[in-house]
């Protein structure tokens, strides 16, 4: 949609006649959401926008402004659509069992994501390293260390606690010494760096030793120590590996696994097992085949993402959407694009991208797309275009199920349970083939990488580079569930505001209190909150066959079992008020939108059936990883192998190789540039980034 947004700009004066062909009934792919019973929001997972998503925010700010200027104020101001979040909670396993919580608060910063960069501002590793030293100060001044029961009672205990904090501040003073080095660093060049590098590495080593001597046995300060240790390891690694002046930037270390690389540069084993790093892996879903025992992320992109996350955010560290991502992002984009003249054809599943006759493509050989083949999954009733949005609380939203009443033979399709988004449901009502020159000139292929073998088998059969990309750019399935509660989390014993929580117990290591979205729903009796959980979903040892129609249901049932067990297990530690004195979970806390079931069983586990859960196992729904070395297999939207086609998605070589909104938007901007020369590459924020 980012590419559609660019190509449909009024500045192009209608030069491009754009039609979007979409599988199923809604836009958004992995970011799609729907409205279910009582207008409740049903997401693919937990979506948080980070404060450095400059390109994504810029697009949405333009979209909201354009709609408002056109008199369509139903979506409101973009600042009302996103809420700031500067707090995050991380967990680590306590030595005596259970979990220990660490709260981190990141300071708000000036500006908003998507603002133009400051004059003269460029992305460089020397800049980041200088800022990394500031992080030491930030951590000390702005991080609240709040280990459970950590502060001994009484004045003496409080004084001892403060003394410890003061001692850590002394460590920061040593870091300030590195600030002098940072000043030198800003003026360093490859030619002048030799002496600087040697002294910097030595000083980092001394700082680490000092910190370790002082804090390694201090459980209360463990979190601070671990973050400091990882930061120092990163600085030393960037120096030692010559990354600072390497023309490849952080790609120079992208063949290393992130944790291995940190250990090689002096990070302690306990630091690479810290909640800080585990939280980053959890948020990135960086586990091979979804196996929590196999964390696997590349060092270069891992560091790039971390640097952007901590030093590149503006306004707030994170931004939470007011409602579902479909409602806040894709509904306004759809409305604005349609106003610009973009056409949408829903219920079209791509089955092949046709090329001219020939054999395997030789290296450097070019080809072009000759045809596009689709399965038509359903047709709108004659004379009426399909209207995909529904109104919930006065706002246009995507429904969780298609508008069967708008479809030909819709009653039958509904009763037979046609699953338009399921890879394993290949039912169709017809086929359609588009021909180049007759039906289209240029193609933008914007599907998930997991779907490529099914949407362009001809290209994969003939193009070795595409086969390599599909093979080496790994993806992982995910699982998610949402609960709506009749009591707020504070009442259930959770301390603190609505933190985003990571590094928690498996299988649902990441969760967030989403009370702020409930007012956007349409409950007769509003629940007090809703809570979203998500995590990777391990793949089975043998991949399911394409004819295994029951596979999604089996995995969804597995997620349901996981969710029920989770509520009765690890949740006890953080929501003690959700349990009775006999230790059983209070199932009646779950708000049932339809008040269904036998009233006598309302207090039992069967009430979970009223909540929402899903297994994201469709090939196109799988989350994209950045495994070591895989960056070489990614293909850029700027690639010219196909004269009249480009690609877009967070799996491409977008400059930011992470499965996230920003990577997808950057890729879309590159795709637009590939098709029409606009936007300028220099205007894609952080595309030219180490």
């Amino acid at each position: 949609m980012a590419a559609v947004w660019e190509l449909s700009r009024p500045e192009h004066q209608g030069r491009y006649d754009i039609t979007v062909y979409q599988e199923g009934w809604r836009l958004g792919g992995k970011g799609a959401s729907g409205r279910g019973p009582n207008g409740r929001i049903e997401e693919h997972g937990l979506h948080i926008w980070l404060g450095f998503y400059d390109n994504a925010f810029r697009m949405m700010r333009e979209c909201y402004a354009e709609l408002a200027a056109a008199g369509d104020d139903v979506f409101g101001d973009w600042r009302d659509a996103w809420e700031t979040e500067n707090d995050i909670a991380l967990y680590s396993a306590a030595e005596n069992g259970g979990w220990q919580r660490w709260d981190a608060h990141m300071p708000a910063r000036a500006g908003f994501p998507g603002d133009p960069l400051a004059p003269g501002e460029v992305f460089s590793l020397t800049y980041y390293m200088a800022r990394a030293l500031d992080l030491f100060r930030t951590l000390v001044l702005d991080t609240q260390v709040d280990g459970v029961g950590a502060v001994p009672p009484g004045p003496a205990g409080t004084i001892a606690h403060l003394a410890n904090l003061g001692a850590f501040a002394a460590a920061a003073a040593l870091a300030e010494g590195l600030g002098v080095l940072a000043t030198t660093l800003r003026a360093a060049t490859a030619a002048t760096s030799r002496g600087w590098i040697a002294s910097a590495e030595a000083l980092c080593g001394r700082l680490r030793a000092w910190l370790e001597d002082r804090f390694v046995a201090d459980r209360e300060h463990r979190f601070l120590w671990e973050v400091a240790d990882l930061t120092l390891a990163s600085i030393v690694g960037l120096i030692r590996y010559g990354v600072i002046f390497d023309p490849r930037g952080l790609d120079a270390i992208d063949d290393y696994e992130c944790r291995d690389w940190l250990v090689m540069n002096g990070a302690s084993l306990r630091s690479v097992q810290s909640p800080f790093l585990l939280g980053l892996y959890d948020l990135s879903m960086g586990y091979e085949n979804g196996d929590p025992e196999k964390p696997r992320l590349s060092a270069g992109q891992g560091l790039r993402g971390t640097l952007r996350t901590f030093f590149g955010y503006r306004g707030a560290f994170m931004w939470r959407m007011r409602a579902g991502m479909g409602d806040v992002v894709f509904a306004p984009l759809y409305e604005a694009a349609r106003r610009r003249g973009v056409k949408f054809e829903f219920f079209h599943r791509l089955t092949n991208v046709g090329l001219p006759p020939g054999g395997p493509l030789a290296a450097g050989e070019r080809s072009r797309v000759r045809s596009l083949s689709f399965d038509v999954q359903a047709r709108p009733r004659a004379g009426a275009p399909y209207e995909p949005l529904v109104q919930v609380s006065g706002r246009p939203c995507w429904p969780s199920v298609p508008g069967f009443d708008q479809l030909e033979d819709g009653d039958r399709l509904a009763s037979e349970g046609w699953e338009f988004e399921s890879h394993w449901d290949r039912r169709r009502v017809g086929e359609k083939t588009l021909r180049v020159g007759r039906d289209f000139d240029l193609v933008l292929l914007g599907v998930g990488i997991g779907a490529l073998p099914y949407v362009c088998p001809e290209i994969l059969a003939r193009d070795e580079r595409w086969r390599r990309m599909v093979s080496e750019v790994k993806t992982v399935a995910s699982q998610a569930f949402q609960v709506w509660l009749t009591e707020d989390l504070c009442n259930l014993g959770w301390r603190g505001p609505a933190y985003i929580t990571g590094a928690f117990a498996k299988p649902f290591d990441t969760w967030c209190d989403m009370a702020h979205v409930v007012p956007e729903e349409a409950w007769p009796t509003r629940p007090r909150t809703s809570v979203y959980f998500c995590a990777v979903l391990p793949d089975p040892p043998v991949a399911p066959g394409d004819d295994d129609a029951d596979y999604p249901k089996r995995r969804a049932e597995e997620v349901r079992r996981n969710a029920e067990a989770f509520l009765q297990g690890p949740i006890r530690q953080i929501w003690p008020g959700a349990f009775r004195s006999d230790g059983s979970f209070r199932w009646e806390l779950l708000a049932d939108p339809e008040a269904r079931g036998d009233p006598t069983e309302q207090a039992g586990p069967s009430r979970f059936a009223s909540q929402y859960w899903r297994a994201n196992v469709n090939p196109s729904d799988r989350h994209v990883l950045h495994a070591p070395g895989s960056f070489r297999a990614r293909i850029s939207p700027l690639d010219m192998t196909y004269d009249n086609m480009t690609i877009a998605g967070d799996w491409t070589d977008s400059g930011f190789h992470s499965g996230c909104v920003e990577g997808a938007v950057m890729s879309g901007l590159l795709a637009a540039h590939a098709l029409c020369g606009s936007p300028m590459l220099e205007d894609i924020i952080a595309y030219d980034h180490p």
Binding site: P119, G120, G437, R438, D441, N644, H673
Partner: protein
Amino acid sequence: MTTPEKLVSRDDPPRGGPIRSGPPPVSQSVADAVRTGYQVVADNVRQGREAAQKFGQGNYNSSNVDKDVKVLTDRMLDLARDLTTTTLDVIERLLLETRSANAGLQAARILAAAGAAAAERPVTTSAAEAPPSSPLKAIALTVRFSGAGADKALDRASLLTRPAVPTEPSAISADPLVTSKEGGQPIGGVSFSACTSVDGVIATIEIPAGQGPGVYSGLVRAPGTVGPVGYLSIEVLG
């Protein structure tokens, strides 16, 4: 749609991937240019002083006078041209604008590091006087020569910054390159282009046969941008 006989193809993008090493900071580019400029000044002044010192010490051999004075005169003319026509004026202007973007501190630091050379002609305008400006961003510039005199031309110190609005390379132009030397006709055949095999913009300067030797300079302009976006300074050898 187009006809099958005339299918639409994409244009080659200016480059195929990100610049991971990062563009050189504007301040660095400008500072390098300033340092080069001041080095030219310093060399000339130093030689002038040396000559004056020889005169003052009274050990100057009269047989050397004509030759040395001629060299000194030529260099002072070069210096005057450099100072008054394009190079340093443009560099200085860029430096001032860059200072307003808080990047000039580094330029000033490097300038200071240039030592005595910088002291010969200090920047006289304060940062407070710098006009508000859009961010300046140096663009890689490759200077090529064509024409019968191409093999006698070389690039001395050229600079191109990013125009204020998106601009096709072919829309960029240059004033005729002029020299103060007698007989040096202005060089007007300058065109700009870009291709994927070369980073940045290419300036192609046509050197006619018989072009007089000397240093030629001219400002670069772009439509929609107020003021020059850079300069070309080349030398045609005798």
